[in-house]
């Protein structure tokens, strides 16, 4: 076999991983939802049906219809435009907290699993202490001290979930560290850093993905919740939480309007969680391949693997 074929094969394998993700109904749903939200956020930078900040008192509380597809709010602002613009905030919060949580989580997990005993025990205890602080409470404390802003949300969720990623990933790293294939990797001449990159991290990835997607989902919720409480986005920022807060005051009069931001938040959180689950399943060849083989076994003669 030539190297080129191998190159094609490894590309196919990567595609195969995506295809496996797509083949899972949960993974497909998550992927679509997350892609739609991300594209919407991108779109809002260039275009929204109406200016989301445009107030039109004559057009207050229009029901869903043309040209205001989802109707208007108490100030006559177009709800669809507000939701499209709010996606920007959601994506910003989810991605930034995700990045912070990843950096903190992996760093703490590595420190807690791979270093000298006194250091890793100290880190483990520290993580156990930090995990006792509820993320939303910390965010509210920070907001009370420094005033509400999106950065408060991003940092509190990022740190909070960084700690919980570390909490789950650390024992997993310890477990993988003591497997024979890591020893075999060292026996092939891998340095500790190479071993970390090639054997340890890929083997903790499934657990990590689930935690990360959960962290990003919580970040979306926390942004909505804190903005709802007035501790998150500034009133001038477009935000689903703010929109929900504005609209729910009129819940008894205009019950349909409040549905839209609520639906947007729920769908996004659900999509992120399902994407995380799908990724976990798609990155584990033992889970995905078994499924594939069972399917092929019905149609083909199974291969001989005594």
């Amino acid at each position: 076999m030539t190297g080129r074929q191998e190159g094609i094969r490894s590309a196919a394998r990567r595609q195969g991983r995506l295809r496996r993700l797509w083949a899972l109904s949960t993974g497909r749903f998550g992927l679509i939802v997350v892609a739609v939200v991300a594209l919407t956020a991108l779109l809002s930078l260039f275009w929204t049906p109406f200016d989301p900040a445009h107030v039109d008192i004559d057009a207050r509380w229009l029901p869903p219809g043309w040209p205001h597809l989802l109707g208007t709010d108490a100030a006559g602002r177009d709800i669809l435009s507000l939701i499209i613009a709010g996606a920007r905030t959601t994506v910003f919060v989810a991605v930034s907290s995700g990045v912070i949580a990843t950096v903190i989580g992996i760093a703490l997990a590595a420190l807690g699993a791979l270093t000298a005993r006194w250091l890793r025990e100290t880190v483990a205890v520290l993580v156990d202490i930090l995990i006792a602080f509820p993320v939303l409470l910390v965010a509210m404390m920070l907001a009370a001290i420094w005033g509400g802003s999106l950065w408060v949300v991003v940092w509190s969720v990022g740190i909070g979930f960084g700690v919980s990623i570390a909490r789950v990933t650390r024992p997993e790293l310890r477990r993988v560290l003591h497997t024979e294939f890591v020893l075999a990797g060292r026996a092939s001449g891998l340095t500790p850093a190479q071993n970390l990159r090639r054997h340890l991290l890929p083997n903790v990835a499934p657990v990590f993905f689930v935690q990360l997607s959960w962290a990003m989902a919580i970040a979306v919720l926390a942004e909505a919740g804190l903005s709802y409480l007035g501790l998150g986005a500034a009133v001038t920022d477009p935000s689903w939480g703010l929109l929900l807060k504005d609209l729910q005051q009129y819940l008894t009069v205009h019950p349909v309007a409040v549905l839209w931001p609520g639906l947007a938040i729920t769908l996004t959180v659900l999509g992120l969680n399902l994407l995380g689950d799908g990724l976990r399943e798609a990155t584990d060849p033992t889970l995905a391949r078994r499924r594939g083989r069972a399917r092929s076994a019905r149609t083909h003669q199974p291969e001989l693997t005594a």
Binding site: R13, F181, A184, S188, G189, L190, P202, P285, A306
Partner: protein, 267 residues
């Protein structure tokens, strides 16, 4: 290129588990370390490569080609591991990374020690898979460990250890986890690979019958000490120590020779 072990000791948390083991493996020799479980044979092997677990401390002297390995910095040892000295472990189920393909794992040492590109390593992996008689080597390199049988996994592990053509192979009970027919095939494969390449071999086992099929010289360990060191034929015909006599009585492996090496383990 010879291995010289002198007064090797291993301490775990202050307890001495290998106590003054000495033996020589001259160039091209096939040496066996034999003893019951807990006799310190695996730790001896790990100590040679500097792969002892946390909290275990090696003492004494291990000389490889005139260089002292005990106390050598890990970075320097890493350049020897897999390149000049290879090791095969007991349990093929756990010795392979479950989420990487066989081919990438076989090619790993080649990429590290010979700075091969990904493509070159992939080509080498196919060649090495063919060398250990894995069936359909072109395709098997793209498979994951759980898709292989136990015997095929052990062949893949052997291919991993031999990919860089080491001068010494340490095999730590490589056939213990396999059933008897596969055991004989893997032994046959190991023996032909070792003698074809002129490698030295340190074979670790608790089974004197297995040892008799592959090694020419045996070192018997008990409680971390050498109790007997003699040619295998002597161990079989005139065991001097009670430990060896016990091992001879308990030797279980069937003396079974496959019709032809290769083919595969399917059956």
């Amino acid at each position: 290129m010879s291995l010289q072990v002198r007064d090797l000791t291993v301490d775990i948390d202050g307890r001495r588990v290998v106590d003054g083991v000495s033996f020589d493996v001259p160039d091209g020799a096939r040496m066996g370390l034999i003893g019951e479980s807990g006799s310190g044979k695996s730790l001896t092997a790990l100590a040679v490569l500097g792969l002892l677990p946390d909290g275990a401390e090696a003492g004494g002297s291990v000389r490889w080609d005139g260089r002292e390995l005990v106390g050598m910095p890990d970075r320097e040892l890493a350049t020897l591991r897999g390149d000049e000295i290879g090791i095969v472990f007991q349990e093929p189920r756990t010795a392979l990374n479950p989420i990487r393909t066989i081919g990438r794992q076989i090619g790993e040492a080649v990429r590290i020690h010979e700075h091969a590109t990904r493509r070159e390593a992939a080509e080498r992996a196919v060649a090495e898979a063919a060398r250990v008689h894995l069936p359909d080597p072109d395709r098997i390199v793209a498979r994951y460990p759980h898709q292989l049988s136990g015997g095929q996994r052990q062949r893949a592990a052997i291919a991993m250890a031999l990919a860089c053509r080491p001068r010494l192979l340490i095999a730590d009970e490589p056939t213990t986890a396999l059933d008897v027919t596969i055991q004989a095939e893997v032994l046959e494969l190991l023996r032909s690979l070792v003698s074809d390449a002129g490698m030295s071999l340190v074979f670790i086992t608790h089974d004197l019958a297995v040892l008799s099929q592959i090694a020419t010289h045996g070192v018997v360990l008990e409680h971390g000490r050498v109790v007997e060191s003699a040619p295998v034929s002597t161990l079989l015909s005139a065991p001097a120590s009670p430990v060896t006599q016990g091992l001879l009585r308990d030797a279980t492996a069937t003396l079974w020779h496959p019709a032809a090496p290769g083919g595969g383990d399917a059956g």
